[in-house]
Symmetry: C2
Subunit: 391 residues, 2 copies
């Protein structure tokens, strides 16, 4: 008997498209809106599974591309599947590897049948087809899996049109290739920043009746306004009773704007990656703990924070760990940032439930200093190839 | 009222010089023989304090040289002292920095007054005197502190004689400089592998009535036989009612041989450093987890091990983490190796207490494959400058 991936919507915000609910999966019920920490190589960098449990992570992401190349998806299947392999008995989402093939790897050739690329690890030639990508994800055994898609540069309309046609063709083949009935296969919308392409994609994929829909190809170089406008044109075209997953997005400000536009699921390397650079998330924005001003500061990162880091260590000690290049610094910063994001998502859900979401959004953004847009754009563009947390 | 650093010897092995006891310090009573994990820069690499507690660490070591240079001992004092700074409320031992000055740093000049050197961090010129080294360690606030000593090459008798004279002169000055009465200041014996120099050192320092004695300048290039012979000539010359600390030594085989010769305290980077290279300690010797033979191995590192790593993860997953250069691999290997060493020390204490120590020693060594001596010697010599765990 196949698993029933029910999505129970428990509240709709009266002032926006935000909603909260429960998405049922074989390894647990995921409260939405949800933020998934990124565990590219079958580990959320620096953390052990019991720490993710204590933090209250409801869903984590792993990358099929990376695990296919190393240690191999068949090997993970022989070892009992991804949950068993990495010691995480709660929901997991794997992406299809499409994004990585079109960014991280050296893409060699794409045609209607599939895509040929060189491994970023050893340069070996590899080929992904829709069928192989489903087989790989069935070997891994995540609760939520993704179709193979072609992730194109968001501003080139001609190329986007071709990529969209192929993405839809592959979505049909992925749907047909799926054999396991205990994994929710999501279709992935493409179409860049063009509302008509996005709407076409939404309609095409909706007809295939997926248990959930992912919005791909955003946060890859377009402006924030373009991203938000695109979302506004897209989510109304998707079935209201299926979860919507905005791939690779997850700064606090982007989460608020996207939740308001009807998104339910997020993943992002931001909290874990910036942690390893010494940037700590606080209600006022990012704190660079390497700054000399913290050398003698006995306060915790955030005085009212309940995370292990803030309960036990000073800014001065954290700064010392970063200056001395100690691994414990990376761990403590990662713990704090994920605690921040996961508590933030709790507030998002709670305020949707009682109709205060737009007020919460306004109050949060009034306090939270968003990093400079231009600097951010330059950085994001430079790091475009690295939405995954493998570095 | 000054703290009473009592050393209660609770058992003497009838078949060797091994003994077990309790050493009282302001932050707790240390059971001996004890192994101190190394936390050079105010962190035992990769681990959080609560993990060290769970592992049952009774004492950890931090390096005064490193902390003096970064973040500064006065700064740590302002932040409440080392225990508070690093979140470890149990006993701490700091070395004097002597060993590091004569190895890690670029030593410039040594005279009877002190030693001038260049920082290994920024090349700045620095000078240690016995008085400064005591002041530094009083600022850090460890439970056990060390005199400044001159650590000379163990086979050059002429230089050793001069270094010994200076070490004794500095020991007297350290004793006189000490102002805090809640820290146990240990004298450090030198004299290389020459029994008469070691005996001279033991007699000289014993007359100064230290609450404990450290044996320095071993495991720095001499053979194991030379080390053991030197210990045999040295420990009988030390007061029986004071703890004896063999600095920088702590492979399982060296611990057994040294405990049998009357040593009570050990510290060593071995379990933590080899962990980060993927070498896991087992009852049969070191297991190189990077080996391809573990790629599909679903067993834990040691089937009967109770550590977090062995309870939750397979050899295959650990190997994957090391191949993928994931920090969690370093953590899990460190946890396992410290668990191994600390359980091993429990067995050492238990078997001394019931008269079975020499039998335990024989049984352990019959099973434990000691790494090849020549390879080890070459490696140790190459790494001579790095007894501390800063890299």
């Amino acid at each position: 008997m196949s698993f029933n991936f029910a999505f129970d919507i428990t509240a709709n915000d009266p002032h926006s498209a935000a909603r909260c609910g429960w998405f049922h999966t074989p390894h647990g019920i995921i409260p939405t809106p949800v933020f998934a920490p990124v565990g590219t190589q079958a580990t959320v960098k620096t953390l052990a599974p019991h720490e993710l449990e204590t933090l209250g992570a409801d869903l984590i992401l792993a990358n099929a591309y990376h695990l296919y190349l190393r240690p191999g998806a068949e090997r993970i299947a022989r070892l009992g599947g991804l949950h068993c392999f990495m010691g995480w008995e709660h929901p997991i989402l794997t992406d299809s590897g499409g994004f990585q093939v079109f960014s991280l790897a050296h893409m060699r050739h794409v045609d209607d049948d599939g895509v040929t690329f060189r491994s970023h690890i050893d340069g070996s030639e590899q080929r992904f087809t829709p069928e192989l990508v489903i087989e790989t994800q069935e070997n891994l055994g995540a609760d939520i899996i993704m179709c193979l898609d072609e992730c194109a540069v968001p501003l080139d309309r001609d190329y986007l049109g071709q990529a969209l046609r192929r993405t839809h063709l592959w979505a049909e083949r992925c749907r047909a290739a799926q054999q396991r009935d205990d994994q929710a296969l999501f279709g992935i919308l493409q179409g860049g920043v063009f509302p008509d392409l996005r709407q076409e994609s939404a309609r095409f994929l909706s007809a295939l009746d997926f248990p959930g829909y992912a919005i791909g190809g955003l946060s890859v170089g377009e402006t924030k306004e373009q991203m938000y406008t695109t979302l506004e044109a897209t989510t109304p075209e998707l079935p209201a009773d299926r979860p919507r997953y905005l791939m690779g997005v997850g700064t606090p400000e982007d989460v608020l704007e996207s939740v308001a536009r009807g998104v339910d699921i997020f993943d992002c390397v931001l909290p874990t990656r910036v942690a390893r650079n010494g940037a700590l998330l606080t209600s006022e924005g990012r704190m660079n703990i390497r700054n000399a001003r913290y050398a003698d500061d006995p306060s915790p990162v955030e005085p009212d924070c309940a995370c292990y880091t803030c309960q036990h260590f000073s800014r001065a000690y954290l700064r010392h760990l970063f200056k001395a290049q100690e691994i414990l610094g990376l761990r403590l910063a990662t713990l704090h940032n994920l605690h921040f994001m996961l508590r933030f998502m709790e507030q998002v859900r709670a305020t949707i439930a009682d109709g205060r979401f737009m007020q919460f959004k306004e109050e949060f953004l009034a306090c939270y200093r968003v990093p400079d847009q231009r600097a951010r754009f330059a950085r994001d563009t430079a790091q475009r190839a690295d939405h995954t947390d493998a570095g």
